[in-house]
């Protein structure tokens, strides 16, 4: 028998309240679905905690909740997303991701087959990232009390020696690099959510792990000043946070910003700025001027392809501290504001 293959759950093809109540059904869900898919030596002990070996250096620790609609979207699903997001939060801190926890909140009536699909995707993503899901929890709430499924993952990583990445490290003259096209995830989700389709275009989430890209960058130059994954609020939010934390200004060159043409088209139509929507497989790096070309080269040649469209998009300046300014192709300037929140398409 292949122990990686989940067994059918007896008599239930949907999640029951009892699956979260700690009894026989909960045990069955754990033993027949979660354990075979996520198996590792820590989970196999079936204790209430994972006992992890100590690292010699610093630990990085992070947590994030995933509440995406729809659960399955072009380019990914909530399972892989919940691994990539947390892995990326560790990676951009300069840590090597090692262990994850996973907490599931399931809605009563959620199809078991879909749950299996999510956990399978999560397991595949974890394998790709070289992390293990070492502890977890499942709760079930009544129908209508959650949107199918929520997942919270926390992650532990091992910090590389000699790395000091921080939002407050930006210095005038530093260069701003983005790892690829902006806005793919947010626009793909918005169009999927509203059933919009654009003929001949393939809008896909960019959900991807960035641990190999970060490794390639830091192997080239360990002194990178700051790195952030550009998730909610997109590039605009990240750059405003960096400028503010370091009390410096940032100037972007509009012509250099990589945006996929299908994303641009959809964003134009919806009246939404691709710089303000979420990415799930893109990072922003701030690198001293003299090292920028080398780091960019390392990103573009990273074998997993996550940095192939990396671009130098701007620089850090002394002027207008806390403010991000865009230089347009016409030679005019405008402010890039911190986005407000919910993206609401314009009337006309």
């Amino acid at each position: 028998m292949d122990r990686h293959c989940p067994l059918p759950l007896e008599n239930h093809d949907t999640v029951q309240l009892a699956h979260g109540a700690g009894g026989r059904l909960a045990d069955e869900l754990l033993g027949k679905l979660f354990m075979p898919l996520l198996h590792n030596r820590f989970l196999a002990r079936r204790d209430d905690q994972a006992l992890l070996p100590a690292f010699s250096g610093k630990l990085a620790f992070t947590t994030d909740s995933y509440v995406v609609t729809p659960l399955f979207f072009p380019g990914g699903d909530i399972g892989s997303l919940s691994v990539h997001g947390t892995v990326n939060d560790l990676a951009v801190g300069g840590a090597v991701p090692r262990y994850l926890s996973a907490g599931f909140v399931l809605e009563e009536g959620f199809p078991i087959a879909e749950l299996e699909r999510v956990v399978r995707s999560m397991a595949a993503a974890a394998r790709e990232c070289g992390v293990e899901v070492v502890t977890g929890d499942t709760k079930v709430v009544g129908r209508g009390q959650c949107d199918g499924m929520f997942i919270t993952t926390s992650g532990i990583g091992e910090l590389r020696d000699g790395v000091d990445l921080s939002c407050s490290n930006l210095r005038p003259g530093d260069r701003i690099i983005v790892s690829g096209t902006l806005g793919d995830h947010g626009i793909a989700l918005l169009t999927a959510r509203h059933g919009l389709s654009f003929t001949g275009s393939a809008l896909r989430s960019d959900s991807a792990p960035l641990h190999r890209l970060v490794a390639a960058m830091l192997d080239r130059y360990r002194g990178v000043h700051a790195m952030r994954d550009a998730t909610r609020g997109g590039l605009s939010a990240v750059l405003n946070e960096l400028a503010s934390a370091s009390a410096v200004g940032i100037v972007l060159q509009e012509d250099t910003l990589p945006v996929d043409s299908a994303v641009r088209g959809a964003a134009e139509l919806l009246g939404i700025d691709p710089l303000e929507v979420a990415n799930e497989g893109k990072l922003v790096a701030v690198v001293p001027q003299g090292e920028a070309e080398g780091v960019l080269e390392a990103m573009r040649t990273c074998p997993d392809g996550t940095g192939r469209n990396a671009a130098l998009v701007g620089e850090v300046v002394q002027e207008h501290p806390g403010m991000v300014v865009m230089e347009t192709g016409f030679g005019s300037r405008r402010i890039v504001e911190m986005p407000l929140g919910e993206q609401l398409p314009r009337i006309c």
Binding site: V325, F330, S332, R334, I335, P345, R346, C348
Partner: protein, 368 residues
Amino acid sequence: MKYIDEYRDAEVVRRIAERLAQATTRPWTIMEICGGQTHSILRYGLDQLLPEGISLVHGPGCPVCVTSVKTIDRAIAIASKPGTLLAAFGDMLRVPGSSGDLAAARSRGGDVRFVFSPLEALQLARENPHKEVVFLAVGFETTAPGNAMAVRQAAREGLMNFSVLVSHFLVPPAMEAILASSGNRIQGFLGAGHVCTVTGTEPYLPIARKFQTPVVVAGFEPVDLLSAILRLVQMLEEELVGVENAYGRVVEPQGNPAAAAVVREVFEVADVAWRGIGVIPASGLVLRESFREWDALRKFELGGVDTADDVRCRSGDVLAGRITPDSCDAFGRECRPEHPLGAPMVSGEGACAAYYRYRCSSAKPFSC
């Protein structure tokens, strides 16, 4: 991207800006009517490319901005009733009423959805036969045909759980009101391109003649806008009065007769109140008597709704072109996108929001 990139070509923009500088011998004050144009001008910093003396004044053409507080309060009242579903265009959700907005009504349990088209609201009515589905039908001539289509379709299907809360405005009467107002300083208009797609260019001729003010219909991309400004300045310099079309790739002189016909079938012209400006005669659309069964105002008892604009907000002066947004005392202080006092701070097309977003960050003012 085809049909976009060629109208954002930096070299073409530079050449038009040069010609504009050569053509300009005197100061001119020009109003762009449409909020979409205001947004483009500030987003691309086109005003920074104009020769000294050319002032752009931002007009009232933002449907989100001119929708009255009363309409927002009524929408909130409807959304708060059990068994109703209120559908609206996305940026209506954060327009402040006299207490709160539709997003807040949603958080209190009201069923508020944002839709991309009135036909999507119609679909919600089909899918939710036990709910009263109300579409907040706002806009100018541009959105009127779609909204009219939704009502006509509901009538044809006998879809009785669908209705519209109408707040429709017409551009030419507003232009006339601005030109007739005391202290008017507008010398020429950039016509709203997408409004003219429906109406054509003819409705502007009497206004241009009566007030001796040229109108050039403009698009929304940098090349469109600058070409239209160039033509308008040439007309002003040569003392030409008339209506010209600098958005010929989209706007036909006769407009879209089929769209105009469905608007006439469903709506009739009425005096309406513009937020911050007041009542302008014959400046809006209301449902015709024959479609009264789809009128949310008749369907719901909304008598108790009491409304008031925030007295600190000078959106009326902004919308009439009397002041720029940053001249308002509340701008960037009490009034910010996360806490708007007036609607122009909400919509991406509102002049105040465009100024705040592109010119004055929360950190400190920039070139204003």
